[in-house]
Assembly symmetry: C2
Homo-oligomer: 238 residues x 2
């Protein structure tokens, strides 16, 4: 395979609204500002992000292509042509591209074609939540969204909890924000009293909330203000 | 539980030698410079890091306590007294504290005592490797070090691979750097030809190496220069 020159840069973006930049290193900003071609999950968000960092290239001179979960394989394949011409930046809606988003499909193609892939440092809600949870960070698993069907969800939670009892593994999952409170109630009802549950909500924001308690303590605690806010749930039963 | 005022800041540090700062946001630096009390994995590394960022407090005026895998529970418990007096920063040897290091033990205690825990943005080799691997980032698992015993290691690899075939989950693990090449050879020999293996080595360094290939392609490829260098291994068989 021919070694290729142009790079695919993986660009993390803020995981919430922010005025000032608390989350991106200068080097990450410098690289983004040097690029004029981006593959993005949603153009609107990408454009407002590029404006927020004062990207020097006017919008009409930029190349933006959309990669979301509906983008057909063939179209993703055509993005390789962009890499043949120039360095390309890949961004997701929020956080790290290639993690909990559809971006990995293009990263895999870039590898197949021999293009260097360079990850840049920035925020990832999964990683920040794990750091701050105080739960086992030497063995952990991220599962994305739990099944919506109640019986399947219940079975999945049982299996995650017993896996954690056996192996000590921290189990991380999420929910669409407007269903956070129902999920919280299910967790409180279904998990064992001694299981630890961490809720990490609105990370990097002024109203960031990170709490870890055993289920038995959550039962007596105030209901956390997580409804309609982005949150991660982490459990450990070791 | 009384709500406490002082915060436990979780401070990521560079994951390799570097001259210039490519990995820490200004905000993370600002917070570190405002702290004078740190719980660290190894004082020598911590001190040279604080010098590298031009921390304004002279070393003799700083409070440093050591938390490594040998630190007794009782001593970790005594660190809570530090938090009663002031804000405290927690750092690991490299990367994100609380992830693949012993720091989580103190984070858990801080939660138990009602101290706010605030994770700061910085580099994590696990996350950077996952982003750049092109493997499934919607379902993944980190396992730390594989067992050293050959039979146990072999059994573990089989179980990780078959788990990945069933669930699509990306399996992430590591090795002590001087055993990277033997591990690579075991992977090439033992995994299925169609399984994808990503090697992510010397992340964020000038000689960063990130390659993803199927086992059948690795067999014909140059042996990667990973011996004695920090690396992560990621597999997916979906």
């Amino acid at each position: 395979m021919t070694k290729q020159n142009h790079k695919l840069w993986l660009i993390p973006t803020p995981i919430g609204r922010c005025k000032e930049n608390h989350v991106l290193p200068e080097f990450t900003l410098k690289i983004i500002k040097s690029l004029n071609c981006f593959i993005v999950e949603k153009p609107q968000t990408a454009i407002s992000f590029l404006k927020w960092i004062d990207h020097p290239t006017p919008e009409y001179k930029m190349t933006l292509r959309v990669l979301n979960k509906k983008t057909p394989e063939q179209e993703i394949f055509s993005f390789i042509n962009l890499l043949k011409e120039q360095d390309v930046g890949l961004m997701s809606e929020a956080g790290a591209p290639g993690v909990a988003d559809p971006g990995a499909r293009f990263v895999a193609l870039a590898h197949d074609h021999g293009f260097p892939v360079v990850p840049l440092v920035g925020p990832s809600s999964i990683l920040l939540a794990l750091m701050a949870s105080g739960l086992n960070g030497q063995n952990f698993s991220f599962h994305g969204y739990l099944p919506i069907d109640e019986n399947k969800r219940s079975a999945m939670l049982k299996s995650l909890e017993s896996n954690s009892i056996q192996s000590g593994q921290t189990q991380i999952f999420m929910e669409t924000p407007h269903r956070n409170l129902p999920l919280f109630n299910t967790l409180i009802k279904q998990l064992r009293p001694g299981t630890k549950l961490c809720i990490a909500c609105n990370l990097t924001q002024p109203d960031e909330l990170i709490l870890t308690k055993r289920i038995e303590s959550w039962k007596n605690a105030e209901i956390p203000a997580i409804q309609k806010k982005p949150a991660l749930f982490l459990i450990n039963s070791f």
